[in-house]
Amino acid sequence: MDLFEYQGKQYFARFGIPVSPGGVADTVDEAVQQAEKVGYPVVVKAQVQVGGRGKAGGIKLANSAEEVRTHARSILGMDIRGHTVRRLWVEHASDITREYYASFTLDRGARKHLGMVSARGGVDIEQVAAEDAMAVARCHIDPTDGLSDADAQRLVDQAGLDQEAKAGAVDILKKLYRCFVEGDADLVEINPLILTPDGRVHALDAKVSLDNNAEFRHPEWQEYKATEELDERERLARSKGLQYIGLSGTVGIIANGAGLAMSTLDVVNQVGGSAANFLDIGGGANAEVMANALEVINTDANVRSILINIFGGITRGEEVANGIVEALGRVEIKAPIVIRIDGTNADEGRRILKAHESDRLVSQPTMLDAARKAVELAKLAEVPA
């Protein structure tokens, strides 16, 4: 789960990482109130989970209530790469001497934590790293040992931070690492980490991605979940316990298992179609789960055909088939369905489906055949009658 900047800063503050004083605003008036509270000049920042806010005009400097009003009015409701701005973060503007970069994440390849620091932070850090690997100091940390003082010092030294920033940066790194581990984050990133003219170091931005698996020990995450940015279909699927990602194609996909669902997307693509979604219904495939999945697919106006791809392992073919038949009785489906059942007792499953076959419900023996049929039906439906 990705946090908004303001949530990330609040999360940082829990671990003692210095951030600019600021507050959240959902209206123009609230923005002015927050600005008065933290003192001018202020920066008015759009809260969206997408990069390039600044370039899109979503971050503005304001020196007076009048300017805050103008900027807040233009930014609230603004569309930034498909994300509508509903909330602002108003913080006291900082004077900046230097911009650095600092992050901790898990390096899957090394199966260790990875700390990275650069003296060349700011908007182009990825490009800087690509052009000059030496510009980013890296340090692998054994999770059983944790980040030592020496590790933190070495990162800051190797990155070549300014002398007057080093002590402050080391202190922030230690706190940031605690935030990463104890805060159960997949990623904590400060870009930029700034040095001010009066020699202080603090976080001007905050990117925090939390590990959903650790939710059970973080009751405080409930408030973040409430503000998570999901589209309507994703929200519906989530509420029904389904793994769903909306896409823009015309073939609705239902499969059991993430790998099989991904593989189904690939095969639909290989035979010339495009998937409307990724939907993993997990191990079982009973009527309840299937009905829920079909309901979610039904809300997608782009869907022209539905491909159900089930591999029966422990779940047997006849159970899957009965589940589908029952689900069809509960939900009115708008698009024709192609079903492929394979695995344990697949023959029996297909026999059950046979009795219910029509031009709206077709069974196919293999994944490839089923994908071809579903794509064909989707294309037929696209031709205006």
Binding site: P143, D186, A258, F278
Partner: protein, 296 residues
Amino acid sequence: MSIFVDENTRVVYQGLTGSAGRFYGLRNRAYGTQVVAGTNPRRAGTDVEGIPVYAMVKEAVEQTGATASCIFVPAPGVESAVMEAAEAGITFIVVITEGVPAQDEARFYNRLKRDFPDVQLLGPNCPGIISPGKCNIGITAGEIATPGGPVGIVSRSGTLTYQALYELTQKGIGQTTCVGIGGDPVPGTTFIDCLERFEQDPETRAVIMIGEIGGFEEEKAAEFIGSRMSKPVVAYIAGVTAPPGKKMGHAGAIISGSQGTAQAKMDALRRAGAHVALNPTEAGELMARVVASLPD
């Protein structure tokens, strides 16, 4: 032959008294696995259809000679369950449980590596391992597997593992061992761990490897296949058209560059001499051809 587990493997189930542990523990026993014990501190002294339940793994090992463990306990308890098994002398630990926090995984993986280097961890969040006809630990349906080899399977995805077993079984091709390594951020067993053993196993004569987008393990496996493997490998990577995950921050991009995409993985595998299939069915067909061309 087989890798990691065979008919002599004696398994203790941590979480045998829970609903999933009980269901699969009994299924595994019915398949022929030596399910010798279960653990649950609150149910010590009882049994699950004749399988004795002990308070701790240490006791189960002393009483039954268990050498492997299969963990079904809920995610919050996995870290301590893994360490308990290792401290009790278990050398092969399979974690089926999904939803384990990444910080926990990173910690117990590295702790095992440092303090118990002889322990092989499989998972978390994996379907388990089956050496057909000998031993089935985990949630794979034994019916879809065929004993006798000559093909070894290693896969990151659960359902695609079953799919691969099924494709081979349909074609009358047996398997030596099928390992589901799981797709979590810190997998205990990697592709290379399995490829290395398949290469050494005289009965395994070809290998199917099923990967997914994300991470670098497939790329590393490709390097191993190119430099260290004499046996033919058929590979399939799921997710060529998968939606790019909502990415945040720059750290991921700084580490990975262009690695991790399905295309990059397939290219690396092709360069290493693997036969790359575009879908699971094709993987089965390619393997059938490979097997047919194996010298007697």
